[in-house]
Symmetry: D2
Subunit: 346 residues, 4 copies
Amino acid sequence: MFRVALWGATGLAGGELLRLIAGHPNMELACAVSRGRAGQPLGGTHPHLRHAYPSCSFVSPEEAREGEADLAFLALPHGASAEEAGRCLARGQKVVDLSADFRLRDPEAHRRWYGAEVPAPELRGRGVYGLPELHREELRGADLVSGVGCNATAAILALLPLARAGVLEEARVECRVGSSEGGAGGDEGSHHPWRSRALRVVTPFAHRHLGEVCQELGLEEERLTLGVTAVELVRGVQCLAHATLSRPMVEGELWRLYRGAYGEEPFVDLCPARPSHQRIPDPRHVLGSNRVRVGFALAEGGRRILAASALDNLMKGAAGTALQGANLALGLPETRGLDMLPVFPA
Amino acid sequence: MFRVALWGATGLAGGELLRLIAGHPNMELACAVSRGRAGQPLGGTHPHLRHAYPSCSFVSPEEAREGEADLAFLALPHGASAEEAGRCLARGQKVVDLSADFRLRDPEAHRRWYGAEVPAPELRGRGVYGLPELHREELRGADLVSGVGCNATAAILALLPLARAGVLEEARVECRVGSSEGGAGGDEGSHHPWRSRALRVVTPFAHRHLGEVCQELGLEEERLTLGVTAVELVRGVQCLAHATLSRPMVEGELWRLYRGAYGEEPFVDLCPARPSHQRIPDPRHVLGSNRVRVGFALAEGGRRILAASALDNLMKGAAGTALQGANLALGLPETRGLDMLPVFPA
Amino acid sequence: MFRVALWGATGLAGGELLRLIAGHPNMELACAVSRGRAGQPLGGTHPHLRHAYPSCSFVSPEEAREGEADLAFLALPHGASAEEAGRCLARGQKVVDLSADFRLRDPEAHRRWYGAEVPAPELRGRGVYGLPELHREELRGADLVSGVGCNATAAILALLPLARAGVLEEARVECRVGSSEGGAGGDEGSHHPWRSRALRVVTPFAHRHLGEVCQELGLEEERLTLGVTAVELVRGVQCLAHATLSRPMVEGELWRLYRGAYGEEPFVDLCPARPSHQRIPDPRHVLGSNRVRVGFALAEGGRRILAASALDNLMKGAAGTALQGANLALGLPETRGLDMLPVFPA
Amino acid sequence: MFRVALWGATGLAGGELLRLIAGHPNMELACAVSRGRAGQPLGGTHPHLRHAYPSCSFVSPEEAREGEADLAFLALPHGASAEEAGRCLARGQKVVDLSADFRLRDPEAHRRWYGAEVPAPELRGRGVYGLPELHREELRGADLVSGVGCNATAAILALLPLARAGVLEEARVECRVGSSEGGAGGDEGSHHPWRSRALRVVTPFAHRHLGEVCQELGLEEERLTLGVTAVELVRGVQCLAHATLSRPMVEGELWRLYRGAYGEEPFVDLCPARPSHQRIPDPRHVLGSNRVRVGFALAEGGRRILAASALDNLMKGAAGTALQGANLALGLPETRGLDMLPVFPA
């Protein structure tokens, strides 16, 4: 049994990690950390988990730093994470970070997208970008696992087979996202009268996850745009990549690329070719699970493709992938504790 | 042409009044007041009205107090309204207040429900409760018109015919309300991930509008409860009053009571007896309009009745009724500027 | 490993049973029966389960009757179930029926609420009403387990402690229900433009589940009404029982009743007394799980109580409770395969 | 006062036309035609309009053909419209058709997109494509006005300034649409559990409105794709055109094009350049009105542009534009009866 500490336990990703830890056969909660709600019962903030943690309260950072744990999940704001990561590592804990602090290898890119110097530069070399579909072997036994951006994960997995094959000329990627992307805090835009049924184009071309996408796909930024629209969903990301191929292709060739990339992946499902309206995935079909669905449609002429993916941003886009990383870091089977099936319709 | 000043112009009721004033043939906007956004274009806050007020900006309270107006709508927070009302009246303006400051005649009731002393006690005698269905004659030419609570309006109009006839023994009233009831500001509960599809019982028995309901129906509080549930709506109130009659009645008698009460009312529509699933009104059928629908169903035995109403809380529950009051106060036809039809389905 | 057959496998309760069977450590799917879609892949109808049943197709009733199984779940329309139940029992299979065919012990009550003679009268004595919270001991090893109505389950569990204690004078019960209650088929009312954000009072006083509620609580019908409102939800029932106690009571006494009834129940959670806005449960907090939450609020005077419950109608209101019944019938631990945690916010 | 007949009066576009006719100062309803509901009160089908048409019932086609009218609105299914149009014209009525029967000038294009021969070929030369922003002068006094596709209208108005200037190289256009696009009838996909919160890509590249878009913009089909995603909305279309310019451009030049195209248009509003999150329009800001909002954002490098529009598909996408056309055909001011302001938030 591994003891895991959870930092940032009152947030949405924090709540999702609590759900996962409660159901994990090889993990137990060492502590759930919250500066603002230390001493308060966990069930007050996460009413759906009250019965799973009947007598558990949040603890302060100071208390948490006194306690023991094998691994720490950091669901802290960008910037605050790196500092705590150093402390945890120094105490001999493995760290799975969900923030953006360790995602970008290039300090200049971090500066540009996050408007700040890279935090904890001494740790950067140790962090592994936490997407097992790309970095599985590096993640095994790793000490420091970086989180992934939910939109980045969706975009990367939609385009990876094309990028790897060197046939992706350019793509205009757009993600439709639910309100849980914004976290538990809320801002003016998340006030229900403004957010309900919104189709708000938050950014038309250059969402900050674009940096991750380019890094992981090995593409120059000139080839990609990444737009984000807030839609009427709480959970879920749907990514539509309007891509151009560098040469005309036929369906069979594309199926070989996608099957080759994902045939062995435990959490990636390819959408069927038929019926045609199921080719492009809908995030409702993965709700509450760690699965990601990937599909594509090819236009006449063989050069224009719509490559798409759908995932639950709190699961495969955050807590679920973090748990995959933690399993790998701890030497557990990668899928352990992640076999819940999607809840649909919901 | 009457010149009207609007105080609290950035809020939701304020926005709705701007929509109404823009379409009113006998009113023009003197000023739209906002302390926080003075100098900013009106269309930034109310994008749906940009074209209707192409070159209009908010003004500060100080500027507004220098300007002229025939009538002031006060869509200000409870407490702040009364003070401004006094100033407006002193400048010879008529006042239509949307806050709760002048609703309750009994200072003790105000204290109890709003946790504060009655503001501007010297003005209380002059205010008329602004529900034309109850106080039409007093409202004609009035100087100070009080706003009405949206839930109170719904409950009063559902039960009025029974209360007037003296056959209402008791009622457990519950309102299902949209998120726009909470105003433009937002609180933790209105954060979209918490509010979306919520069925949150905000108060089980004693919403603060109960004071108005008892006052206007002339009933002791022991006879009524008023519960409120926040549901997945932006606009709309549906009121279901689970009432007990003091004696068994038959349908025909009840129809006479309801038709007698509302047959001449320009904005009250009775639901048809058939088809039976249309007896209880749905607020979607009055969206964007000043109409209120009232219906009832009688259980076997003739003593248990479900009396119900539905309205748009920003219209008949706030801005629409306020404009009815303003029309009456200014000597205009009561329905002027209020003939828009509901938008359905939406 | 028990082999289970699923009849009515294309419906919503059928889909939910497929999700549960896939995750159950002691069950495997013998066959998924559909007359209309025999031969078609299961993943076409239930896209969220494609990866869990990668090579499974629906079979015809005729094929299913040739196959072997230890237990049959019948998610068939009312009326069709009883006939198939007889055949399954004759082949030595245990039967868990989700229809209403075996719910009402009194043939007259069945006739009245379902407008038809009781089907398979020879089997009626053998069926056990499948709510473990009421009939746990009878369900152990039972051959024929009846389903439960989702609204009935919600109403029964909200009121059971009061009814058992003999303090329930009367109650006006109302359920707010999601669109999945209507099944996969759809009717005019479920067309999205009509159903979205609806507050449609489907029945004000006498939903057909009232028969079950009275039977199981041992109350005469004169004491209860059961209204149903369709609200903007896909899954979920919230039941609010506006009840009157036969004598004034205090909170502590009520807590003893509710704790006494549910303290040992594995799937019933009592809402906390504080914070007060969490006293009345919201179905969003049990989404996708088999849990039911029960709470209450007592009005001043001690006679008027709001007793409430919330559940996921496809789980605790249908498939989840059916699996509890199947576990008990097969001699398995009651909670086996039902430990998934709620997905929130979603 | 012009007398107008409405064919197809039970549908969603029909209901919207009834709302418009009721509020139009120069029109009165001659008859509301329905084969299936002849004799039934109009308020049963359109409960939100009951008070506006208190004693009006639907009439059969046969009755309607006996009556008199100055103009007929045809909100009939594709194919049925053309036949009735001929009869109406023969009786001397002007016709405003909302179907697709007269939209495409090229019979081959009609065949391809609608899978049928062009109906009423003898009338084709007489029909004018009913988008006043493109064909205002031809519409004045016209006898036969064709309807417009809602998605086509959105796409055309987003791209028109670029196409006219000859700078549009290609565009991948996608529309996000509400459930009212499917009409009042409903199909499996519109069943609420499937449709609620859906992100269903109905067609990735070639929605049938593409024919209209190419015809009206004068572009070859190779340059455009038109995808449609069903989203959680009842009313509304948001069109995002991911376009490539044939040469690098700067913002100022684009503003001149868009202002030049729409500066005088009574129903087209340009989105402001600032704040930047208001550049791309949201259909919630035009709900219930005849307005269309158009905006754009230019990516670095000056070649990639996101050109966008938003409208209410039942208004500017159907009934509203039809009324504009009717006004022009009858010699009335084009905006008559169309000055209602958007309802927001709703």
